[in-house]
Symmetry: D2
Subunit: 438 residues, 4 copies
């Protein structure tokens, strides 16, 4: 690969792109990107131009021979790619708003990954991912697909269940955020903290946490029940656990666990946001507007600090670190979404999990953690069942399967409510769900 690396970013007009570009610039020495293709769809053309031009200015300022290409022609972009990253949003933030607002209207948390919103984000996204994979098999069969598009766990599961393509890694910034948060909590440098991660995307547990290789789990668990400490990532409002619960669990939680172990409180917030027109989608729309205004500034040639508020903290670091390790066969350990392969005993061996992996040129190899705590197995299996059935619904367009997924979701309180939300969301997202309406 002395020719340099070709990267294709699908959904290149995303506000996150400057993060990624910054990452490639910083790691250029060990990971020499020669071409970065930003691909988007017609509806995203304007954003693509704005972001693309910022990217060009960033590269120029860094003085690196990294060519930035902007295109709406995905197949053209994919030719001969080494890595493909995906960070698109079918239906843009309008769709996310529906994912959050329709459930809220029926008194249910929308939750755009593992909740009712996640089901619909999956139904819209999975067919597009499968199309991209088909294109990759034709135009860049040796490339790795690094997926940041949510619901990342469900997307990975869909690829394992419904294709024979295996060069996919799902990535999320939650685990790195947990490590950063704990480092901050303990007032030590991030590099000294290691967590054994195991679970699913947005449902990952820290089975143990080490400072310089020595377990500090008990200390951290005590700190976790202190309200001021539980806020590991910016985009979810943290609140402390009842100390006896978290001690009984004996594992670290991720921020999304609050939806399941503090459902009442989170639901109350969801309803308030809904009523005030301040759902996460609506907040992000506003943030994005401001970001794109900044991006337009022809003087701007770095990632603006305001991007951190968007929720993409550590994103650059996680993404570029992963790709660099694959490229260089680093065999270091990173938490990613990949096939379980027996690493977590109570999850099916051929399912997608989020788990600490050795990152090699041939992909991630999970480390065998044994099992997650007994108390976590039910919830993890419930989300896994939800993911599996959702992917089947996405691929087949089968109404009964979508209804089944909606009803068994732990945030949905009954089959009757499930049906109401389902029908309203199907109607609302109709244009992006051809498999259900053809």
């Amino acid at each position: 690969m002395s020719k340099g690396v070709k990267i294709v970013t699908i959904g290149g007009g995303s506000s996150y792109t400057p993060e990624l570009v910054e990452g490639f610039i910083n790691r250029y020495e060990e990971f020499p990107v020669s071409e970065l293709w930003l691909v988007d769809v017609e509806a995203g053309r304007e954003k693509l131009d704005i972001v693309g031009n910022l990217a060009k200015r960033m590269v120029k300022k860094a003085g690196l021979p990294m060519a930035i290409h902007l295109t709406l022609d995905r197949k053209e972009a994919l030719k001969g790619a080494d890595f493909v990253t995906t960070q698109f949003r079918v239906g843009l933030l309008d769709a996310r708003a529906k994912d959050e607002r329709i459930p809220a209207k029926h008194g249910v948390i929308g939750q755009e990954t593992n909740g009712p919103g996640g089901l619909f984000k999956g139904l819209r996204t999975i067919p597009v991912i499968l199309d991209i994979i088909q294109d990759m098999e034709e135009h860049c069969p040796d490339a790795w697909l690094v997926n940041f598009t949510n619901p990342a766990g469900m997307v990975t599961e869909a690829v394992f269940r419904h294709t024979s393509f295996r060069k996919i890694v799902g990535l999320c910034n939650v685990p790195i955020g947990m490590e950063m948060g704990i480092a901050k909590l303990l007032e030590v440098d991030h590099s000294r903290i290691r967590i054994d991660f195991a679970g699913l995307n947005h449902m990952v547990y820290g089975l143990d946490v080490y400072l310089d290789g020595v377990s500090v789990k008990d200390k951290v668990i005590d700190m976790l029940s202190n309200p001021e400490h539980s806020s590991f990532v910016k985009n979810i409002d943290g609140q402390g656990w009842e100390v006896e619960f978290i001690r009984g669990l004996d594992a670290l939680t991720c921020p999304y666990h609050m939806y399941y172990y503090k459902t009442d409180e989170m639901l109350k917030k969801s309803i308030e946001s809904y009523e005030k027109g301040e759902t996460r989608a609506e907040v992000v729309m506003k943030l994005e507007k401001e970001l794109f205004e900044l991006y337009k500034d022809p003087e701007l040639a770095i990632k603006p600090p305001q991007l951190a508020e968007r929720g993409g903290a550590y994103y650059s670091d996680a993404a570029v670190r992963l790709i660099t390790s694959i490229y260089n066969d680093k065999r270091d350990i990173q938490p990613v979404n990949t096939m379980n392969n027996g690493a977590i005993a109570s999850v099916p061996s051929d399912s997608a999990v989020e788990v600490s992996c050795v990152i090699t040129k041939e992909g991630p190899i999970p480390i065998a953690v044994g099992d997650i705590p007994v108390a976590a197995r039910g919830l993890v299996q419930q989300i896994k069942s939800f993911e599996i059935i959702s992917t089947d619904a996405a691929v087949t367009g089968d109404y009964d399967k979508a209804m089944l997924a909606m009803t068994i979701n732990p945030l949905v309180p009954s089959d009757v409510v499930a049906k109401k939300i389902l029908d309203e969301m199907l109607e609302g997202h109709k244009e992006f769900l051809p498999r259900f309406f053809d």
Copy 2:
């Protein structure tokens, strides 16, 4: 065993006892009970006398040489027993009322088996079961323990996890009720219906249903979404499923599934009952009072028909059928609670499950069903995790474990609410929870 069989019934003063006696009378020819010892505690002495005398009249009327013994001395009763049955309630119906009312006060379904009520019923019951087993090991080491005491799944799990005793079978009338209900639905005789059962106690699924050996699952599933059909057992108000949900699930549900797939609706009813002072415990107290008035009648020498309303439908049939099959090594198939042993792939092999078994003189052997539907695995695992942690809490008296069990229960909406219910219930049941207060 030509000498005739010795049965010991712990909790012999229960209003259910006439059911059991009727069963023994009806099957006397193939299962010749020569001694039936009804054992109770001091607080139940009066009921024991009433029920015991009815039992004596029943046997006399039947003209059988079956001696009825009434005693408060458990060890004396157990000497040389062949079968021990348990149907006691620690704290009587007053305790059940608390199991239902305290959660309801906090807006949560109490549910005395797999809900918060079940946790506390388990905490009170498990230590007593372990004591009984210790007595059995000393006084009748070859006897089988047939447990009807709820939560039957959790009790069986506790014995597997915390003792080396293996001669226990847990029994419930829900599966037989489902078979009877479906027979009625299809307007055929019960003997022509067979269901492949798999799951947990009060969380059991019918993987397939046969009429004369031929699957009629699809037909039955369609009927299940009809509100008038779903009421398989008397003591839960049935209401039909959304047809697309049950078709998606592609398995038969048991009545208790309504707590999980119709939580909203069931909660509403719970709160109403609580507010009207008509929780199930309160209803049953009234029923029992009436039953004991009937039992007192010296002219009564049969099981009174009003007992059926108590919820014990098919109980006699299920219990005596099971014991008779063990005694005679019948090798017929019955659904019971026993060790999984690989029969259901997604449940740990050494856990208690409710599954169709071959009943032999050496105990039940589960049939290997493969696995329950994907959609059911999460909920089943969640209840299994709840059961496991609850048994550990019961044995250790560990507050953190009790708090963990309460928080992960799918009916409990948050750790904050869990703690409130937990503390109030611990206080309310204090006298029956020495392991938590010593």
Copy 3:
């Protein structure tokens, strides 16, 4: 099925057929066969006529309305069949002689099921079985295939791995022979003995043995080390185990275990038989010749007693008992070859095993035995691996896979010897191995 049952027996000209006919006659009342089609190939036409005429005389003597049809047209025969049985031998006894003689020449036991002979019997048989299944799917999609053709375990495995057909049961007379042998040993009636079987075909273990439902395993194991007792079936010369070995194993062995736990002694016998021209194939050829002479006798209208010496003891009983139980949804317990489904923990869930099953109209359901003894797991897994790879070789005609199967067989002492035997056997069986030579 009030019209009576239609049976098709492929390989109908076999000397075993009178056994089967006798079985159908004896069970006519509960299993009313109205048509029995005996199918064979051109090379077996003469035998088919002889056996077919005997069958007609037997039915006539019994006075039953059972029509016997003789044909070389398999598809015609299959139309509308209810059960298909297979008992053919591709290449007839000449092929078996090669299966035994070629390995013996190289100092290796041939063993026509789990040894090098079994590999080649599988390579010849599996493609024919797959053809029959294709015909069945077209002409009698609801029929059950009851396979007696050896290697029965490998054939069942092949169907599970390489087709989506699931209505197959593999049957062997070894388990029933073990029960009969133990009944004889204990001098009790066969009906009082039950064994929990688990393992593979010709590699099955008795995990426990009961007399009237009570375990007598220890007693039987002691008897097994007595040379005069270990001879459970006629066609293998028994000799007792070292008592400390069988006590350590703590399970019943089947006669074929002698090939693996007494390899030296069995090899010596094999070589002797080979040198004297008295391999099993050669002995059976002589026996068959005599049998067919008997069958020709127009006065003969019953199964001649000499057939028992052929090795088919209890065959009628096992086969007809199985078919009758499927037909009548009897739900009794019989050992058959079927999909494991978790019944034996250390064998893959989707592999064929020989295990005690509940026999229903929808097929056999294995009972969950937990696991076979630790000491048995290696050998069982080794034969299972051998079976799996042999089926892949049979279907693909891949030389490397055949070589792999031959080398890992526990009777084959090295890759060098494996190659010699393999090449000579491929050449010898050339005409029946089109997938290897096309």
Copy 4:
């Protein structure tokens, strides 16, 4: 640990010790050993003195502040140790000679790890290891036990099955030898080769092999069938595989596989060596004699190059690399013997395996390889069963278990031969087998 590391080497008088000392000297910067205690038993006092003095000269020459202590008092040595290594031989090479000669006399390969010799080496060694662990729990509860004593797999299994001690890692130089051999084969530097190892000790497979992170398995497998290439380690005479066999297997073998896939040829060599009085034990005795003569030389202050011929190639590197990685929480990947934990699907989760692991301060974590090839599963399970039953025999002194282990060993051809070898070996090793003779 700023005080420097304290190492205790049990069996310190071994001829291998200079390897280890060299390793500690070379890695002193990242792994500062301040005390090295060499412990031996009375019978080894002379060797201990010779080796110990060489060690002192080596350290002096290196100019490092590493104190060498020689002692026969194990408990004294263990006080406050950080790492304990074991490399002793109960009964010394005389015992090994019996392990090899007695089976050979009966026409069986002795094989001192996974053969009959291994059973007896295990019976002698395991009780001593369990004693050492008891001492460690008292005198250095935080120390790691790094076991080089063979049979390393069986020893690790024994600790997992019969103690609650978990700070043990078993180490072998076979995997590193395979990597070195392949590097040589491909004429590249060792650091560029990586193998995914999975299996058991002396029964390990290379599931894939990478050059600079890219799989070169097919190329290597082709080379492996070339006789001149298969000799990866010095102490087993290599000979090439039949190419179709190794292509069918599709995995790398270790040198010990020749005992199982070339049994005939290896047996022939064993018998020849036995007859010539040149078994491996006898050869090594001679080599050791020469080595100790060299060691005595007061001018010698380095590891003499002749040690490489002893069979300990790469030993220093493997051992010190492992300990250094634990000490420094390096999280690099090394193949060691540890608990499976789901890493290899077809081996029980709680059994010892030899598998690529991430090496952390809290011990090795295996990487989830999925499974070994189907063709390898039987042999691996057979050796695992042999190991398990051997450890049970070692701990209990139960004759039946020893007999069972001997009979199921794949190198032993029958129960009759097993008993002869067993009895003769028990007698021969009597003084080291108190659990069998008390």
